[in-house]
Assembly symmetry: C2
Homo-oligomer: 334 residues x 2
Amino acid sequence: MTVDRRAFLASAAGVVAATALRAQPADKGAPLPSWADGPVKKALLEFVAKTTAKGGKEFVEPAERIAVFDNDGTLWCEQPVYAQVFFVIDRVKALVATKPELKEKEPFAALLKGDLKGVMASGETGIAELMAATHAGMTTDEFAKGVSDWIAAAKHPKTGKRFTEMVYLPMLEVLAHVRASGYKTFIVSGGGIEFMRPWSEAVYGVPPEQVIGTTGGLKFALRDGTPVIEKLPTLVHMDDKDGKPVGIQRHIGRRPVMCFGNSDGDYEMLRWTTTGAGPRFGLVVHHTDAKREFAYDRESKVGRLDKALDEVPKHGWQVVDMAKDWKTVFAFEK
Amino acid sequence: MTVDRRAFLASAAGVVAATALRAQPADKGAPLPSWADGPVKKALLEFVAKTTAKGGKEFVEPAERIAVFDNDGTLWCEQPVYAQVFFVIDRVKALVATKPELKEKEPFAALLKGDLKGVMASGETGIAELMAATHAGMTTDEFAKGVSDWIAAAKHPKTGKRFTEMVYLPMLEVLAHVRASGYKTFIVSGGGIEFMRPWSEAVYGVPPEQVIGTTGGLKFALRDGTPVIEKLPTLVHMDDKDGKPVGIQRHIGRRPVMCFGNSDGDYEMLRWTTTGAGPRFGLVVHHTDAKREFAYDRESKVGRLDKALDEVPKHGWQVVDMAKDWKTVFAFEK
């Protein structure tokens, strides 16, 4: 991906990313300035302080300071549907322009109508067909380039902002603060690993090697004698629900100390994190702000939060009430 | 793994590991002191210098400085057979003590005789049975504990030294030197990822999240309501030959800048690394020292080096002539 990443930094997407990078808050002065004073902010700051106080009873060795973050709904907006769905829709549109016969065929037809339920109804075969048509056969470099170009241009349907602007400023501040305190930050997302990596470093300060996500098959091949890595239409790892602790173990090989999520898809990694020995921190972002973002939980088709919310008291997790705890949601509000 | 890692540091294995850690050379004074002056040492030092010289034409951004190292035969001794094979033999011995009927059954019988060819003859079914019997059903924490206990006690059959002492001092110096120059060091091994992680940090300074290896299935489960991760008897990723670039892409998501290997199993990752744009470095350790270690290449069953050696001139890789280029092989020689 190096070649592509270098090209990327010189591209339109690179300009967006560089802007995002400059927009990343430094952890200077009072930490978490976009957070309202209250129990959640207090608990977060106290946890970081006590686990990094040398000689303290709850000190955590720097090497063990691992913090994992869900992406959709935790670091950036996931409504009305995951950004990656818009990406796939745009790819299918481009595909249909050259192969119009696909327009009438499922799951392409459903997807083009934004009918995710219809897409899911086509089952594994349909999804595999979709992945094969839009992802497979490309090299990882080509795919990364496609993602970079797309994310430089695509706009959120409600706000008209770029998706990389739809990141939560308070969470960027958390990333910056825990990193400044010696925590290594990882993304652990149900989204595609190759979809996030081209921009995660610029937008979140999380390098590609610290991104864990849903993973498709890859194949090393020689094209005219030159090594490439090709994407295959197979699913290797579904990084959601009970797949998240597995992805964490596979990539990190240590149990995290801090875990941030927002939906039932994060329940298992919250459990896995917070049942480790020693100090552990779990936090659930509760979307309660229909005015500045979206309000949803138990009944939502995207980012449903039900069981994880019920079990908050049982496991001692923190809950962010977005409307109350975040003074600012998006940097562009300011 | 955190809990176990903490227990590990307080255990017998921890003592060994801590000794190894203290034995890790600091990158102070003249770098690579165990290397004889010569073209390989010179090329290595010059490459690191030019890629880290700010403002230089071949400067590589710190974030892009990725160096990957094969383990068996590159960082530690792989003869007469991979250390992990001794580990599995010891596990099978323990198993047979409780289930004597396995003693006559393949592939257990062949393994107990050290007959790897016989083990391989049992095919995928046999290997799967072996993995199932010795690995599956354990939690990752239990497995890590088993590895830690074993590696604290097991001895190399030729030297009588612990396996963690059978690491190459010159390569520890390379790890230290490239790290001091801002390179992030990763292990990319055909060996089991969960076999290396319990000791890689103490012995090599490579944390578990920077270890890539052959990977078995994992499953998140609740045992009496407590989350665990269980090992499954399935193979998820074979990290050898063309699997190595795939493992690199999956875990790191960037193309390495430096690659160190010793066998044809490293050929594809050497190609993948050194065909990237910009400065790239490939190095092959050639085992030429029967007196201090082992001498083997084209005809060896373990760590066969043939094609990769033939193609060295074509790709501009460096070759270490162990007998000539390394003043010291093992720290215990001194």
